[in-house]
Amino acid sequence: MATGVKPRVKVPGSASAGEVITIKTLISHQMESGQRKDGDGNKIPRSIINRFTCDFNGENVIDVTMEPAISTNPYFEFQATVPETGEFKFTWYDDDGSVYEDSKSVTVG
């Protein structure tokens, strides 16, 4: 079980219709690869976030399948089109079944 998982997302608060904005996300997570060994030589079991998705008003922006080779505290930077006022929804799926969510609204004005 991963503890202290905290998502952080940076999205501009407003945009013009159809504008392409840059989104940065970071989530604090151990991302235990399953390759490391503890002091007694036992393998530490894998525990990672295996999927990240970003949606805007129900439409998909990006869907990332993650493997153990993604660094601790997974960071993603990508671009999204904003057609109207709405909400970005970010979802991270953990190996242990936990789902971490965050959302940010953007106003088109």
């Binding site: 390759q35 490391r36 439409e59 493997e67 660094s71 930077e77 671009q79």
Partner: protein
């Protein structure tokens, strides 16, 4: 025991082949992953870009950026890692551009491969050698 020159040479070749085996197994795994993604289709060179440092001091967190205009998905592989797959980016209808950056782990100096499925259904491949000073798999 007497060895003829021929036998000695054969043994040497066998030993050399054996020492290459782990690397070959990994290369086969990479080929399998690529075939799974492309369905065995031919791959072009143009249309996908991989941005990464030439030398990464710390293999635990290597910044990397992939972009492929018009692509629907990009597969990222690290050929020299214990498990070669790194990530797969699938772009939805609202993606502003087919670009993504993240940070990855690399076990050592190796080739990183990016394969993109372009808008017209064809595939493009690029790779880049990254030198790693300190490996990132904590073996």
């Amino acid at each position: 025991m007497d060895f003829t020159r021929r036998e000695t040479l054969a043994m040497g070749a066998g030993a050399a082949l054996l020492s290459f085996m782990p690397f070959r197994a990994n290369a086969a795994a990479v080929d399998d992953l690529i075939a799974e993604f492309t369905g065995g289709a031919e791959m072009g060179d143009a249309g996908v870009e991989l941005n990464a440092p030439e030398i990464a001091e710390n293999g635990n967190t290597v910044p990397i950026e992939v972009s492929a205009p018009g692509a629907s998905a990009i597969l990222l592989l690290a050929a020299g890692n214990p498990t070669p797959p790194v990530a797969k980016f699938a772009f939805g209808p609202l993606a502003g551009s087919q670009t993504a950056s993240t940070r990855i782990r690399l076990a050592g100096t190796q080739d990183v491969i990016a394969i993109a499925q372009l808008g017209d259904g064809t595939f493009a491949r690029t790779s880049k050698t990254i030198k790693v000073t300190i490996g990132g798999c904590g073996g």
